[in-house]
Symmetry: C2
Subunit: 187 residues, 2 copies
């Protein structure tokens, strides 16, 4: 049960968003911009960065929600998603994405942890300034979303089978207002 009475049955961040639609709108718009953009980083790469940071922040709801999204974009390769979560250096992903995941992991600790050599390494693997910008902002944004969800004790379904159908809906419709206003929220 959440720490506050959100007065709805939506799970995770959706319950908090429905409680306070004024702040939900920019939060959803930010996710849409950062995770659905297809320029530079792919949607799969963006969701993998979100999944890894949420895993590092130990946010069960977020790392499973975004892990399932990544899985959708990776044609169901759940094993790859799980390897990125736990041991991305040995995952079958590009060296560029590995360098960006290193930056994301530093941002999760602190902005100051990012060193010029981390940026140089990412550039050497082909990352553009925009890719680096988006990686830092995705990682920073999930330091927000994860703390919002767990800091208010949002409802977190333990049954992993509920995350897949939601991910399919988001993959199809994006992070719009429907996330927290759908007529029939599942618990």
């Amino acid at each position: 049960m959440p720490h506050i009475d959100v007065n709805n049955d939506f799970a995770g961040i959706r319950g908090l968003m429905a409680f306070r639609p004024e702040t939900a709108e920019p939060l959803a718009a930010l996710a849409e911009m950062l995770l659905r953009d297809n320029e530079g980083l792919s949607r799969a790469e963006r969701e993998l960065i979100a999944t890894r940071v949420s895993y590092l922040n130990d946010c069960f709801y977020c790392h499973n929600s975004h892990g399932e999204l990544a899985c959708v974009y990776l044609d169901g390769d759940r094993e790859l998603v799980d390897q990125v979560r736990k041991d991305y250096q040995h995952a079958a992903i590009s060296e560029k994405l590995k360098a960006l995941l290193t930056i994301a992991g530093k941002v999760q600790q602190s902005g100051k942890a990012v060193q010029p050599e981390d940026i140089t390494q990412a550039r050497q693997e082909g990352a553009t300034d925009r890719d680096i910008h988006d990686t830092v902002l995705i990682a920073a944004a999930f330091c927000l979303y994860n703390r919002y969800v767990d800091g208010l004790g949002a409802t977190t379904p333990k049954d992993l089978s509920t995350y897949g159908p939601r991910a399919l809906q988001v993959a199809e419709n994006g992070y719009g207002k429907h996330i927290y206003t759908a007529a029939q929220p599942e618990k």
Copy 2:
């Protein structure tokens, strides 16, 4: 110098926002909603929470920017702002705000650090569910803004006298698009 070429002379988060206006818009809208709302928490209280969290995250640009904003709303009481930064338990602020700053400090560490007794304490001091919600989200949002600024090595003016005039402008005009599109950015 920032880690990426932002191609402008704006200081702090403003330079990053001007580099990527698509993500700047929801980031600015979120700040406007969270820091300028006058219902429940006052603007001064909201900026004090932002200042404290930014101080805990050791983000020089943010804790000075928002500290100056708080100072504007507190009729120039810089000493009070500084005490909230460093030792809020002994500051001349309400017991309610102290309880909310305790929650904000826990969110800065991790969402999971917030305990039911922290919420109970805030309620006993008169905090509503909306106050608690906004406190958690302000704290979480500054875990984003601070990491964004320092993770990309945004330009950080060391001269504290430059923060006051900016704070006056934001107090007057809010966190709108003008933040990163003003014709004559100061360095």
